[in-house]
C-alpha cells in the first residue's frame, strides 16, 4: 500500500516535467509536383520583359513562357505596337513533351535538357506556330522555389502612427482603403485586384499572380533567406521602394517579408505575406 502511495506521489510531480513542451516548427514541404517539367522558354531573339526587343515583334508574339515547378505557367505576349507585354497565368499539365496551358493552348518541345529547342506553339484560337526557342531548366532547387498561395497579408505602417493589420489574401483596394483611413497616402485608382499567388522559380523569376490571371514578372536572386529582386514599376502607385525581402518558414507556412516605403510618400512599413504551397 505504502509503495503504491509513493508511486502515486512521484507521479504527482510528473506534470511539471510534461509542461515543458518543445517548440516545433514544421518547415518541410513535399517537392513541387512539376519539378522535372519546369523551365523557361524564350523565343529566339527575344529578351523577356524588355520593350526594346519586344517592340520589334508583331502584336500577339510570345516573348517568354515560364513553366513553374508547381504547374503554373506565365506567358508574355506583345499586346500593342509599342511592345507592351502582358503576362497571363494559368495551370498547365504535361504529357510526354506536350504541355497543355489551360486557356492558352499547347506547347511541344524537347524538355529533357537546357538548350535550343524547336517550339511548336498551338494557341487555343489560331494557327500553329513553330518557333526556335531557348529552353532553360531550373538552375537549382530550393524549398522556396514553387508557387505559393497568398493566405494572409500583414501590413505594418509607420507614418504618423505605427499600426498593423491583417488582411485575408491580399486585396489591393482593401489595403489602399486601410492606408487612407489611417491618414496615409494611397492612390485613388487602385484596381480591384488581389495578389493570389507568388511564385519563385528555379530560373530566378518571381511571378506575382493576380486574381484576374494577369501577372507581373521580376528577376530575383536568393542568398540564404534574403531575396534580392527587381520590382517592376506599378501603374497603380503601389511601388514599394525596396529590393530585399526575407523568407522564413513557420508552422508549415512560408513568410515573405518586405520592408520599404511607398513611392512619393513618407510612409514606410513592412508587408508580410503568409504563404502556403499551391501543390
Amino acid at each position: 500500500m505504502k509503495t503504491i502511495l509513493r508511486i502515486l506521489t512521484l507521479s504527482f510531480l510528473l506534470p511539471l516535467l510534461l509542461s515543458c513542451n518543445p517548440v516545433s516548427n514544421d518547415t518541410d514541404f513535399d517537392d513541387p509536383a512539376f519539378l522535372q517539367f519546369a523551365g523557361r522558354l524564350t523565343p529566339k531573339g527575344v529578351m523577356p520583359g524588355t520593350k526594346a526587343s519586344s517592340s520589334l515583334l508583331p502584336v500577339g508574339s510570345v516573348t517568354s513562357i515560364e513553366l513553374t515547378e508547381s504547374g503554373l505557367y506565365a506567358i508574355g505576349i506583345v499586346t500593342d505596337e509599342a511592345g507592351t507585354i502582358d503576362y497571363r497565368t494559368g495551370k498547365y499539365s504535361v504529357t510526354d513533351n506536350v504541355y497543355t496551358l489551360y486557356s492558352m493552348g499547347t506547347l511541344a518541345f524537347n524538355n529533357s535538357v537546357s538548350g535550343q529547342v524547336s517550339l511548336i506553339y498551338t494557341p487555343l484560337f489560331g494557327e500553329t506556330q513553330q518557333i526556335p526557342a531557348e529552353f532553360l531548366k531550373p538552375k537549382s532547387t530550393n524549398k522556396a522555389f514553387r508557387t505559393w498561395m497568398v493566405e494572409k497579408t500583414r501590413l505594418t505602417v509607420r507614418g504618423w502612427t505605427v499600426v498593423s493589420a491583417d488582411f485575408k489574401g491580399c486585396d489591393l483596394a482593401e489595403i489602399a482603403e486601410f492606408l487612407r483611413n489611417n491618414g496615409n497616402k494611397a492612390p485613388e485608382d487602385v484596381p480591384n485586384l488581389s495578389v493570389s499567388t507568388i511564385t519563385l522559380t528555379g530560373t530566378e523569376t518571381m511571378i506575382l499572380g493576380y486574381s484576374d490571371n494577369s501577372a507581373e514578372l521580376n528577376e530575383f536572386s536568393l542568398n540564404g533567406n534574403v531575396l534580392t529582386y527587381t520590382w517592376a514599376e506599378r501603374p497603380d502607385g503601389f511601388t514599394f521602394i525596396s529590393d530585399k525581402a526575407v523568407i522564413e518558414y513557420r508552422d508549415g507556412k512560408c513568410l515573405l517579408t518586405i520592408d520599404g516605403y511607398i513611392r512619393d510618400s513618407t510612409t514606410s512599413g513592412s508587408v508580410t505575406f503568409v504563404l502556403s504551397p499551391m501543390d
Binding site: M1, K2, L5, R6, T9, L10, F12, L13, L14, P15, L16, L17, S19, C20, K152, R154, T156, W160, T161, V162, V163, S164, A165, D166, F178, N182, R250, D251, G252, K253, L255, T272, V274
Partner: protein, 250 residues
C-alpha cells in the same frame, strides 16, 4: 531555462518524497489561488511542500475609467475612457519549506512560486471600433481587440524572466500538515511573494494563426502604460494568505 529549472526541481524532489516516512496531501484556498499540494516531514523541525495553484472563484474587480488612445498606436489623437475588468490570474507551482522551531504547529515558511508569471488577467471592453480593425505588431504577434474586447494581463516575474516567474516567498503559519497521530490536519499561512517589476501583456495573433500573450512595449499604448504603471508600481510584493486542509497518506 524554464525546462531546466522545472526538471531540476523534480529531480531534487524525487528522492525526498520517495524516502518520506509520512506524507499528506492537501487542498487549500487563498490569494495564491486554489491549491493542491503534497507535504512531507523531514525530521521533526522541517517539512517540505510541493504543489500547484490556480486562481479560481475570486471575484473580479472593474476599474471604470481607464484612458486609452482613441486610435491604436497613436497617443496624440485624443483618448477615450473604457472599463477594465480584472481578476486574479495565478497559475503556478510552489516549493516551500516549513520550519517548525519548537516542533509545534507554529512555523516559518521560505521557498518560491514557479510558473506562469500572470498575476492579474484583464479585459478592456467597449474599445473604439478602430481597435477591432488595427492593432500593434509585437514580435510578429498582432495585438488587437475582438468585438471591442481586448484581453490583457499583468505579469509579475519576480526573479524570473518574461512569462516565466520565479517568485521567492517568506511567511509564517500555524499548523502541521503531517502528524503521525492524526489522519487529518489544518494549517493557515500568511506571507508575501516578491513580484519584481510588473508589466502589461496582451493576447496577440501570430502570422500563422497561433495566439499567445506578448509584452506590450511601454511606448506603444501612450498614457495607458503610464496609467497601468501607476497601479502596478505598488505591486512589489503579493500578500499571500491561505488555508489548507490535509489528509495523511501514510
Amino acid at each position: 531555462m524554464r525546462s531546466f529549472l522545472l526538471a531540476l526541481a523534480c529531480i531534487a524532489l524525487f528522492p525526498v518524497f520517495a524516502a518520506a516516512q509520512h506524507m499528506s496531501i492537501g487542498a487549500g484556498y487563498g490569494t495564491d489561488g486554489m491549491t493542491v499540494e503534497l507535504n512531507t516531514s523531514i525530521g521533526q523541525y522541517v517539512s517540505l511542500r510541493a504543489g500547484y495553484g490556480k486562481a479560481a472563484g475570486i471575484p473580479s474587480y472593474t476599474i471604470q475609467h481607464i484612458s486609452v488612445p482613441l486610435h491604436p498606436g497613436n497617443a496624440d489623437w485624443g483618448s477615450v475612457e473604457v472599463p477594465l475588468q480584472m481578476r486574479l490570474g495565478v497559475n503556478e507551482g510552489h516549493l516551500l519549506l516549513n520550519i517548525h522551531p519548537g516542533q509545534g504547529p507554529f512555523h516559518f515558511t521560505v521557498g518560491g512560486y514557479l510558473g506562469n508569471a500572470c498575476l492579474i488577467n484583464g479585459e478592456f471592453s467597449y474599445l473604439p471600433s478602430d481597435y477591432d480593425a488595427i492593432g500593434i505588431d509585437v514580435d510578429g504577434y498582432l495585438v488587437k481587440a475582438k468585438n471591442g474586447v481586448l484581453k490583457a494581463a499583468i505579469y509579475a516575474p519576480g526573479f524570473g524572466k518574461g512569462a516565466f516567474a520565479v517568485k521567492p516567498y517568506v511567511g509564517i503559519g500555524f499548523g502541521r500538515a503531517v502528524r503521525a497521530d492524526r489522519r487529518m490536519s489544518f494549517s493557515i499561512d500568511i506571507g508575501a511573494q516578491y513580484l519584481g517589476k510588473s508589466t502589461l501583456w496582451a493576447l496577440g495573433e501570430g502570422l500563422t494563426g497561433k495566439t499567445k500573450m506578448v509584452q506590450i512595449p511601454s511606448d506603444a499604448m501612450g498614457n495607458l502604460t503610464d496609467k497601468i504603471s501607476s497601479y502596478t508600481r505598488y505591486l512589489v510584493v503579493w500578500p499571500t494568505i491561505n488555508a489548507h486542509f490535509y489528509v495523511r497518506l501514510f
